[in-house]
């Protein structure tokens, strides 16, 4: 057996007999297990709830009595964002962004009911999920188990005996790092089992789940190398512990909170209220489809009359009010799309800034990788908003078209004064069944892998840096004698 493996095996033996290491590792494994179980249960309960509410909303929409189509436009519809299978591993921004949107004509509402808004402040500091345990707690346990790998031996005097017995500095440091890697691998087991469950029971993709596990393994390998290297360089175990705790606090606590703030200060975000006011102002400039004297819509009417070669809207082969509503919705939707595109661009800029912070904190790089592969990042939320808006536009236009085709202009114009016309404009509720249900399409594995390329490269950069650091630290194993 090589010296490196002998050192690793001995270190494992020492850890098995160390009460501190036993307790720390057992505690983390229990926490990781609890996190996996509760997170899967939480995700499933949430997803079931959303599916149930979605079915209820669909059923209530379909079950509406005979109504005027435009009443249905204003009756609206709720859509819920289903949770991707890997959300049980890393729920990402789900708790913060909201999961349901009320869709209605002429308006674009924001998503509501984020868990955080309904729960205590504690939820903002990290939910107990496999991702949180591995991102924040696992490095901490590795630090407590490994800070003395070399420094403790140096202080105790065993390091000199070790070298005098024929072990090279490289074998000693490599063996110690290998032993700590074993602890890291042990920590990955509950997460690996949870991912297997998500693949088998929830339909999570094997490539995404495997890449996720690989990302976390890389992250922990970076920490292992950092811990072993610092332990080799530090003059005492205490100095190693303090340095490593400082590194942990900066990388996993401070920087992940500083990065979004930095992005905001570089590129300030427009508030929801400001955006709403701006949209309303522009809507007023575009015109009001409900106002018969509005210049834009007057011009539109003229062009329609010309196109159909008639002088009056009453002579059109369809209900002009429906067409007018369609035109109004097209204009407002196009405005919403412009604002949404601006918001998306800004969010992408923010995401790029936050991702770039990964160069100084591997936790940020891993977090970006994790939520991207899990499909629970802002990209996924934005995708939901875009699909919800497309769906809103489609159903509103379908209802407007019903108004144009299934309701006569005459009835529509007199429905408030003529009770018979008022009854006739209420069309057959069978039409509501023709409105398709909302189906959210999450990003494909390929799309997620592509989006995760940048943080993955940053993590690989960290692995390279950590490897070089460990290699350099070999010179300090004996140098501190």
């Amino acid at each position: 057996m090589s010296s490196l493996r002998l050192v690793a095996r001995n270190e494992w033996q020492l850890m098995r007999r160390s009460r501190v290491a036993q307790i720390a590792i057992a505690l983390l494994l229990v926490l990781a297990g609890i996190a996996a179980i509760t997170s899967i249960a939480h995700r499933n309960a949430n997803d079931d709830l959303r599916a149930r509410f979605q079915a209820q909303a669909n059923s209530e929409f379909d079950g509406q009595p005979a109504r005027h189509p435009h009443r249905m436009v204003h009756y609206g519809h709720f859509v819920f964002r289903p949770l991707p299978p890997l959300a049980a591993f890393d729920p990402g921004v789900d708790a913060f962004t909201g999961s349901t949107i009320f869709l209605e004509g002429h308006r674009q509402n924001s998503a509501n009911f984020g868990d955080v808004r309904q729960s205590s402040l504690l939820a903002r500091f990290g939910q107990l999920t496999p991702a949180f345990v591995l991102q924040a707690l696992a490095p901490l346990v590795l630090i407590f188990v490994g800070f003395g790998l070399i420094a403790r031996e140096r202080e105790a005097g065993t390091l000199r005996l070790l070298t005098a017995s024929g072990a090279s500095p490289g074998a000693i440091l490599g063996g110690k790092a290998l032993a700590l890697s074993g602890v890291a691998a042990l920590m990955l087991i509950p997460a690996g089992l949870a991912l297997l469950w998500m693949m088998a029971a929830e339909g999570a993709g094997a490539v995404a789940a495997g890449s996720l596990l690989l990302g976390y393994a890389t992250y922990l390998a970076v920490w292992v190398a950092a811990i072993a290297g610092v332990s080799a360089i530090a003059s005492t175990p205490r100095a190693a512990l303090i340095a490593l705790l400082a590194m942990w606090a900066v990388a996993t606590v401070l920087l992940p909170r500083v990065a979004p703030e930095a992005a905001l200060s570089v590129d300030p975000l427009t508030t929801k209220l400001e955006t709403d006011i701006a949209i309303q102002r522009e809507l007023r400039e575009i015109g009001d489809s409900h106002d018969p004297d509005d210049p834009h819509f007057e011009e539109f009417k003229t062009s329609v009359l010309q196109e159909y070669g008639v002088d009056r809207i009453e002579d059109l082969p369809f209900n002009y009010n429906g067409l007018l509503a369609m035109e109004g919705e097209t204009l407002t939707s196009s405005l919403f799309d412009q604002y949404a595109a601006r918001e998306t661009a800004q969010e992408k800029r923010h995401a790029a800034i936050v991702t770039s912070f990964g160069v100084i904190s591997p936790t940020i790089a891993l977090n970006r990788l994790s939520i991207t592969l899990a499909g629970t990042g802002m990209d996924g939320h934005r995708r939901f908003l875009e699909q919800a808006e497309a769906y809103r536009f489609a159903i509103v236009q379908q209802l407007n078209q019903l108004q144009a085709e299934a309701v006569t202009f005459a009835d529509d114009s007199t429905r408030n004064s003529d009770p018979v016309a008022g009854r006739r404009v209420r069309i057959d509720p069978e039409h509501w069944h023709e409105v398709p249900d909302f189906t959210y399409r999450g990003a494909t594995t390929g799309e997620r892998l592509q989006a995760a390329a940048a943080p993955a490269l940053i993590l690989l950069f960290w692995l390279l840096v950590a490897g070089l650091f460990l290699r350099e630290a070999r010179n300090y194993v004996l140098g501190a004698h």
Binding site: S3, L14, S18, T158, R160, S165, G166, H481
Partner: protein, 243 residues
């Protein structure tokens, strides 16, 4: 100091100079130890005794001079040199979570040796560690017990060179006498032993040569034997240490 056969000596130091933190610790140090010979290096605190051991182990870079351990230059090939050296530090540090058997097996395995349990017991018997203590974790061991484990390791490694750093420091008279007997036994096996010590009586008892180290160089070297005047030597040692 060095004779014509020194080039064949398992331990050979010739004109070694070494500084630490800008201070000259060894200055043109020369000595050699033949196979089956024990050389006791005496000197005051800071004279360079332990530095000499560290240099032979290849742990410190030499600035000048030549060193050889069983024909290997520890500066050029420190790991190869360590494979032929048995080293007994002043304070033997063992893994406290392991027992004597496990410590010995581990340290020897690093050097490529895999002694049987019987061989380890034999070495521990020779070193004088009580049988019922061998299964205990070494956290509860006294300094003497730890030293006995390290001696057993040195015996088991069966190397041509043994470096002993203050081997009897902290040992009671009985344990010191046992240790000296062990050194004689090792000499009889042909091991070249370099020990650094403050214990002049012990050195006179088991070493063949005693060298006084002052300011990084040998100032006097004497051969031990029945006619050695230990009191006169003690006086000169005191002077050398004071210098």
């Amino acid at each position: 100091m060095s004779d014509s056969s020194a080039s064949q000596a398992p331990i050979r130091i010739d004109g070694l100079s070494l500084s630490r933190s800008g201070r000259t610790v060894l200055s043109n140090l020369s000595l050699s130890v033949e196979a089956g010979q024990a050389y006791a290096l005496l000197g005051g605190n800071g004279a360079g005794k332990s530095t000499t051991i560290a240099a032979l182990l290849g742990l410190l870079p030499a600035e000048g001079g030549v060193m050889e351990v069983a024909g290997i230059d520890p500066v050029e090939a420190p790991e190869a040199a360590r494979r032929v050296i048995g080293y007994l530090p002043e304070n033997v540090a063992l893994y406290e979570q392991l027992d004597a058997y496990e410590n010995i097996a581990y340290f020897l395995a690093l050097g490529g040796a895999r002694p049987s349990r019987a061989a380890i017991d034999e070495a521990l018997d020779a070193a004088g560690l009580e049988a019922d203590a061998r299964r205990l974790r070494t956290a509860d061991y006294s300094k003497g017990m730890r030293q006995k484990v390290a001696i057993a390791m040195a015996l088991l490694r069966d190397v041509p060179v043994l470096l002993l750093d203050e081997p009897t420091s902290g040992l009671d008279p009985r344990a010191t006498a046992d240790f000296n007997a062990l050194v004689r036994q090792l000499k009889a096996r042909g091991t070249a032993i370099l020990m650094v010590t403050h214990d002049l009586l012990g050195a006179a008892d088991c070493a063949d040569l005693i060298g006084f180290l002052a300011k990084g160089r040998i100032v006097e070297e004497v051969a031990t034997g029945p006619n050695l005047d230990v009191m006169a030597l003690h006086h000169r040692y005191g002077e050398a240490a004071a210098a």
